[in-house]
């Protein structure tokens, strides 16, 4: 056998839920991802199951994403949006009556959206349950991530906060999937020395780092990224294979840039008459993405030509062929040198397949099918599978790293967003103080403590500093951080002065309603951690 390929999909969205607004722009992140990435992935898994294809994939489903997928308000809104899109597609079919290429596309979208709707209703709106089923029948290994996708190295100065993020995530995983998580996707692959202790505490057995996280490990890894390392806590660190990453992500060489693929930005939400499109856009009164797009990439300049579905599918199949051939060549080449079959770890954002790269699900489908044909040479496995087959690995200390820009934490800690951290530091210590002060709280106090933990977790999300750094409209992110920190502070004040405003607490409980059983005691500080 030449080697192993581990495809890892990371699905995460920050918790965005605004019952106070009828239509809210940022909720559309979730809706678009469901329509274009998650449902197609589930449909693919069903097809592979029906066709008897063995294809092990690892999939992260973040706790915030699962919470949103299971929330009934967001489910209602999603269904409404989906029905609206089906309606829009119907109108498009009529509108393009005399434009044959567009009409074919409109019919295609109409059919596709109807299929998504049928699937969603057919599974009782329970996508998390469907993912669970795929895991239970052995198709995928679902891994967790930090509760609100916090950047854990920046929390290390306050160990209870790291523990809180991880333990809450594990509890939530258990409630969704009925078992303990074995692997974890570290948010942004961000790791620093000492994190493995907390992972081991929760029996999280493996994680993934960017290439240099392994290549700069101490001591140097013998197998480079072709095999994992064990930290001295026994947790396995896998390193991303840069060649697989480059072929998909790279601007120069990446597959999704092929001119035959669908163009992301030419959406009818921007192109067509405003009155016509307004009922279907994500935010009232403003143009936005509908998901119905008629153009292909074509090129970097000039007019965009019409999208041709068949040509795009051929491109996806060709690229899948190419991708697998490259992986095989890599494995064969490295295998001659190594004394064990090499492992290639290829992690990607799940939303790449379908949302950003519309033909991504078809690319994945092709890969799974073709890989079945060369199963004796290249096997699709998960990192957990690898550890079962190869429980002996090199002992080393991985390097602090992330897969973000410049390889460390600059994106999340710079002049644009550093203001968050002093407030977080204070809130974290206060949470520990509260957890220690209320070992046996009354019912109302327990509610307040749980909500304080929720607000703190939400304030710690790495999504907010990321948007502040990379977005040009950071108002939403800024507002979110402030709101959660202010609510936390108010809860702290009320708890320490024993004057709880229960109606206000009820109100914010219904707004930020994730992790209903959050255990605030995770923030209790251990004696040996004091003074950190």
């Amino acid at each position: 056998m030449a080697g192993y390929l581990s495809l890892v999909l990371h699905a995460h969205l920050p918790f965005v839920r605004h019952p106070e607004h009828e239509r809210f722009l940022e909720e559309s992140w979730l809706f678009e991802a469901i329509t274009e990435s998650y449902v197609p992935l589930l449909q693919g898994l069903d097809r592979w199951w029906a066709d008897g294809l063995e294809a092990r994939l690892a999939l992260t489903l973040s706790p915030t994403l699962c919470s949103m997928l299971q929330d009934s308000l967001l489910q209602d809104r999603y269904l409404r949006r989906l029905e609206g899109l089906v309606d829009l597609a119907e109108k498009e079919v009529l509108r393009t009556h005399w434009q044959k290429p567009f009409r074919e596309l409109a019919l295609f979208y109409h059919h596709r959206l109807e299929c998504v709707r049928d699937y969603y209703l057919g599974c009782g709106r329970d996508l998390v349950g469907r993912f669970r089923r795929a895991q239970d029948r052995g198709q995928i290994e679902i891994v967790t991530t930090a509760a609100t996708h916090a950047l854990l190295p920046l929390l290390l100065a306050h160990p209870p906060s790291v523990r809180g993020q991880l333990r809450v995530a594990c509890d939530h995983y258990r409630s969704c999937f009925g078992r303990d998580p074995r692997g974890i996707w570290l948010s942004e692959c961000a790791y620093a020395e000492g994190l493995d202790q907390f992972l081991a505490e929760s029996n999280l057995r493996w994680f993934i780092l960017d290439t240099h996280g392994l290549m700069r490990a101490q001591p140097r890894p013998r197998y480079a990224t072709f095999a994992p390392l064990f930290t001295d806590r026994g947790v396995a660190a896998f390193g991303r294979d840069p060649d697989s990453a480059r072929q998909v992500w790279s601007r120069q060489e990446g597959y999704p840039g092929d001119p035959r693929y669908r163009d992301f930005y030419r959406d009818i939400g921007f192109d067509l008459d405003f009155d016509y499109i307004e009922p279907y856009v994500p935010s009232p009164g403003q143009r936005g993405f509908t998901g119905i797009k008629y153009c292909r990439v074509t090129g970097s300049e000039g007019e965009k030509a019409v999208y041709e579905r068949q040509a795009a599918l051929e491109a996806a199949a060709q690229h899948a062929d190419h991708f697998l051939a490259q992986r095989l060549a890599q494995c064969r080449g490295a295998g001659k040198i190594l004394d064990r079959p090499p492992l290639l770890v290829a992690p990607y954002d799940a939303e790449l397949f379908g949302h950003w790269w519309y033909e991504g699900p078809e690319f994945l489908d092709s890969i799974v099918r073709k890989a079945a044909g060369c199963r004796n040479e290249l096997r699709l496995i998960t990192p957990g599978d690898y550890l079962r087959e190869h429980p002996t690995n090199q002992l080393a200390s991985p390097s602090a790293s992330s897969w973000g820009e410049e390889g460390h934490w600059r994106v999340w800690l710079n002049e644009a967003n550093e203001w968050i951290y002093p407030h977080l530091a204070a809130a974290q210590e206060r949470m520990t103080e509260l957890a220690g002060r209320f070992p046996s709280p009354a019912a109302s106090e327990a509610r307040a403590l749980k909500q304080a933990a929720r607000e703190l977790l939400l304030a710690q999300a790495s999504d907010w500093p990321f948007i502040l750094r990379t977005g040009t409209s950071p108002d939403y992110a800024r507002r979110r951080v402030k709101q959660h920190l202010l609510r936390f502070t108010r809860l702290y004040d009320q708890l320490t002065s024993s004057q709880l405003d229960e109606s206000w607490i009820s109100r914010i409980e219904t707004r930020d309603n994730l992790f209903p059983d959050v255990d605030y005691r995770y923030w209790v500080e251990r004696r040996e951690e004091r003074g950190a």
């Binding site: 920050p14 700069r216 990453a245 935010s283 490259q326 040198i337 550890l387 429980p391 410049e406 202010l486």
Partner: protein, 528 residues
């Protein structure tokens, strides 16, 4: 991740310029969704004031394009059901319903960034914006590493406090000193901060080192006065390790790790480094790694009585695992019962065949030097080049030699920022769409062009159509519940002539000559 996928400024501007330079579309080549600059008032779906009009008059109003029969310049004749007496010309109410002026906000504008643009919501309840406190009064200094050569220090002093300290300082501001944790006397880097700063990013020379910081100032006599000291922070490594010792351990997949954590920490401080001949040189031609053949007493081995694992349990089952059973109690908290099973011995380290220098070298050559640099990307890259800055097509499908240096890697931090071509002079887009509307009895079945359509509850319908150049026929049929049939066959012709075209594709042409009757026609009235 969506909010993780933001488009950089350069790309947005470029794309905006490109979209603004939208070349005129010829309707002979198929282009999507050309924007109408003048448009028929689109009848909304719900038209409570919709007045029913007989099909005969309906189809007469429908369509704005002039019918130019072959060779004929006059208007196409419509159905013979035209009434004898010409009714007074009146704009059908349906065309006025839902009429919104097309203001600047509603004109098609180029997408500024992906769908994840966090725009403020429309209905924002008026709330007094609270601010976060300026200080929490702890007086603490905290340090965090950001990357191999930058640390971040922030301190929690009240404004008044800081002001007083500034006055005591000879420089009228505070100073942050950052030094190695193991060298308290120095050397250190000193950063003189702004008087009102509460944080500072400090450059440090050594990657892979533990640093501590001190906040203070220099008094008038030159003495250093410390205010607060920070926690230690470790900068990440920026290069591969020199130590090439390779030791291996076997960890059974079902062995719980939580006990391992405690055993590892309590029993073993540092790993022993086997001597590596020639280790100082970081070049690939290092000597082979040495294997240890005996399990060390250090790493991973738990001593009986300490750090015993809960027998047979996986961490986290119903209670936080990893609590220190040996008395590291938490105040005011119930400790879980100590596990009664005897401590499990750890697996010994495994011996591996020694690697030859040739093998080590072969792997080092196989792996491009760039493997130790951050590889491209995450989703940020996708958003960037999906915006259209695709410089080259994917190379041909021959297999690339593996292990090639990654000259193709673009640092994620530098967006391509390609220069977009400026708009090519004055541009002008015009297009036309068609609205067909009518009504019948609510329980009738209606098809347009053979396709069944949904009537509104009052039996009315209206549909918009794009109208590219060409000649068209559209039969519309209504069948009543009793089986009676009515049909109207509409015929349209649209022709386009462009004027003032340059080497660029022809601009969108005006549909008709600017005649008086055509102005009214724009309101939906047929020519006479």
């Amino acid at each position: 991740m969506f909010p993780r996928q933001q488009e950089p400024e350069t790309r947005r501007r470029g794309r905006a310029a490109r979209m603004n330079a939208r070349k005129s579309r010829s309707n002979r080549t198929v282009k999507a969704g050309a924007t109408a600059k003048f448009k028929v008032k689109s009848p909304p779906l719900a038209t409570p004031n919709f007045q029913k009009s007989p099909p005969a008059a309906g189809h007469r109003r429908a369509g704005r394009a002039l019918a130019a029969a072959s060779g004929g310049a006059g208007p196409r004749k419509y159905s013979s059901e035209r009434p004898a007496v010409k009714p007074a010309r009146k704009v059908p109410p349906i065309l006025l319903e839902g009429d919104k002026p097309v203001g600047p906000k509603q004109i098609s504008k180029p997408p500024q960034k992906p769908a994840l643009e966090p725009a403020p919501p429309v209905e924002v309840p008026v709330v007094r914006e609270e601010e976060l406190p300026a200080t929490y009064g702890t007086g603490k200094l905290r340090l965090a590493a950001r990357d191999p050569h930058w640390v971040y220090a922030h301190w929690d002093l009240a404004s008044e406090q800081q002001r007083q300290l500034n006055e005591l300082s000879a420089h009228r501001h505070l100073v942050v000193r950052v030094g190695h944790e193991t060298a308290p006397a120095g050397p250190f880097v000193e950063a003189h901060v702004q008087p009102e700063s509460r944080h500072w990013f400090v450059y440090v020379k050594d990657a892979g080192e533990r640093y501590v910081a001190e906040l203070g100032y220099y008094a008038a006599d030159g003495q250093w006065k410390g205010i607060a000291a920070s926690n230690p922070a470790a900068t990440p490594a920026d290069a591969p390790a020199r130590d090439t010792t390779a030791r291996f351990v076997t960890i059974p997949p079902d062995m719980p790790l939580s006990g391992l954590a405690e055993g590892g920490r309590q029993a073993a401080p540092q790993a022993e480094m086997a001597p590596v001949p020639g280790a100082p040189s970081p070049s690939p031609n290092h000597k082979p790694a040495q294997e240890t053949t005996t399990p060390p007493d250090s790493l991973l081995k738990s001593t009986p009585g300490e750090g015993a694992w809960p027998a047979g349990s996986l961490a986290g089952e119903g209670q936080p695992a990893g609590r220190v059973p040996s008395g590291g109690g938490l105040e005011g908290f119930q400790e879980p019962p100590k596990p009664s099973a005897p401590p499990q011995p750890l697996p010994p380290l495994t011996t591996f065949a020694e690697w030859t220098p040739e093998r080590v070298q072969a792997l080092a050559e196989w792996i491009a030097p760039d493997r130790s640099r951050p590889a491209p990307a995450n989703s940020l890259v996708i958003a960037e080049w999906l915006g259209g800055h695709i410089q080259a097509e994917i190379p041909a499908m021959e297999a690339l030699p593996p292990g090639l240096p990654a000259e193709g890697i673009i640092q994620v931090s530098s967006p391509l920022g390609g220069q977009e071509s400026a708009p090519k002079g004055f541009w002008f887009n015009v297009n036309a769409e068609l609205v067909i509307y009518g009504s019948t009895e609510p329980d009738a079945r209606v098809t347009i062009g053979g396709r069944a359509i949904q009537l509104r509850p009052d039996g009315s319908f209206s549909f918009r159509f794009a109208l590219p150049d060409g000649q068209y026929e559209l039969p519309i049929t209504a069948v009543s519940a009793q089986g009676d049939t009515r049909q109207a066959k509409l015929e349209f012709y649209r022709g386009t002539r462009s004027e003032g075209a340059e080497s660029a594709p022809p601009r969108d042409p005006a549909l008709k000559p600017p005649a008086a009757e055509n102005v009214e026609t724009r309101q939906g009235m047929p020519p006479d």
